[in-house]
Amino acid sequence: MSNFLGRLFGRSKEESSAQAAKRRLQFVLVHDRINLPPDLMTAMKEEILQVISKYVQVAGESIDIALKPSEGDINLLIAEVPFAKTLSTPRGALEDNDDDDLDA
């Protein structure tokens, strides 16, 4: 996660404290402005993970997701979802699993 965010926000080892302040502020203000605190962000992340898992097999148990400030009026929601190169279970099996989940 931190590695992903680090690349996203251009963090480097030689970062000055002023650069750190700017990076942290830009990150937190994107959340403040759309009123999406970290706990809701986590909930959204889990739902996105569930949806994507319906169609592709996600590698690992987590995805990286971040709001990125941009120059204009539009901010970006960027998600990095690692998925398996080959499907280890047939699609039908995945869907069956989903049905089982719903029944349970």
Partner: protein
């Protein structure tokens, strides 16, 4: 229409709102403008002591709003500038004693006789902030180059935009140039990258501000003070109603 209502606000407390209001008031008076400054921080009266007028208060803002005193009775004339007045805050009441509509009414009366009505807003984003915001034509946000103050300024900018009161303008106070050069303090450019508002003043951190408050003679009265010069520059933009951005001021050699 008459005079212009300029509200000085911040979100976070302690960033220098009262100092800024006092200095802008004095700097505008030095430009021969007729000015009244209103301390809207009810319960936490401060503007009077920063301006050296604390011993002359008879009536306050709440007395005016509740009809115990006429506006003219509550206005304290500055010792040095006869066209500069202060309406002090009540010390023993809370912010609910005044409503946004009261402030609009009061300012509309004052517009007839003054060029500028400066309102020193309380910190926070509640009743006192709304009181100070309601009559505003121009809104000046004071912040420091620190994460907490910048974050709170952003919150206030959002609220001002939501109320269609903008555009807010930014004053960056207490900038320590040596720290900025070392990369240990946000620069003016950093802050304008983060906050989407026009920066109309950069005020250097200056020990003279403290001694000036101590004696009740705001720093803008000292011709050789750098912070005083910064406040005078902001006041010129305010008086001309142009609010030159800092980058333009630099080009103009201010």
């Amino acid at each position: 229409m008459g005079g212009r209502v300029v509200t000085v606000t911040s979100g976070k407390g302690g960033v220098g709102k009262t100092t800024t209001t006092a200095n802008l008031g004095l700097a505008l008076a030095r430009l021969d403008k007729r000015v009244v400054v209103i301390d809207a921080d009810i319960g936490l009266r401060n503007l009077d002591i920063v301006m050296g007028l604390e011993n002359r208060i008879v009536y306050d803002l709440v007395d005016v709003v509740e009809g115990r005193a006429k506006v003219k009775q509550a206005m304290i004339k500055h010792k040095q500038f006869p066209d500069l007045y202060l309406i002090p805050a009540a010390q023993t009441r809370d912010k609910s004693a005044v409503s946004p509509a009261d402030m609009v009414q009061l300012c509309n009366d004052l517009r007839k006789e003054f060029d500028f009505i400066l309102i020193d807003s309380p910190a926070g984003i509640e009743r006192g902030f709304r009181n100070a915001m309601a009559p505003a034509d121009d809104i000046l946000i004071v912040t420091n180059p620190e994460v907490s103050a910048v974050r709170d300024a952003d919150r206030v900018i959002g609220l001002i935009e939501a109320e269609n009161k903008g555009p807010a303008r930014l004053i960056l106070n207490r900038v320590k140039m040596d720290l900025v050069r070392k990369g240990d303090m946000l620069s003016a450019d950093d802050v304008t990258d983060i906050l989407a508002v026009k920066l109309i003043g950069i005020v250097p951190d200056d020990e003279a501000v403290v001694s000036a408050s101590n004696s009740g003679t705001p720093v803008t009265l000292q011709d050789n003070s750098r912070s005083g010069q910064a406040f005078r520059n902001i006041a010129r933009g305010c008086a001309a109603r142009t609010y030159l951005s800092c980058s333009l001021m630099r080009k103009a050699g201010c």
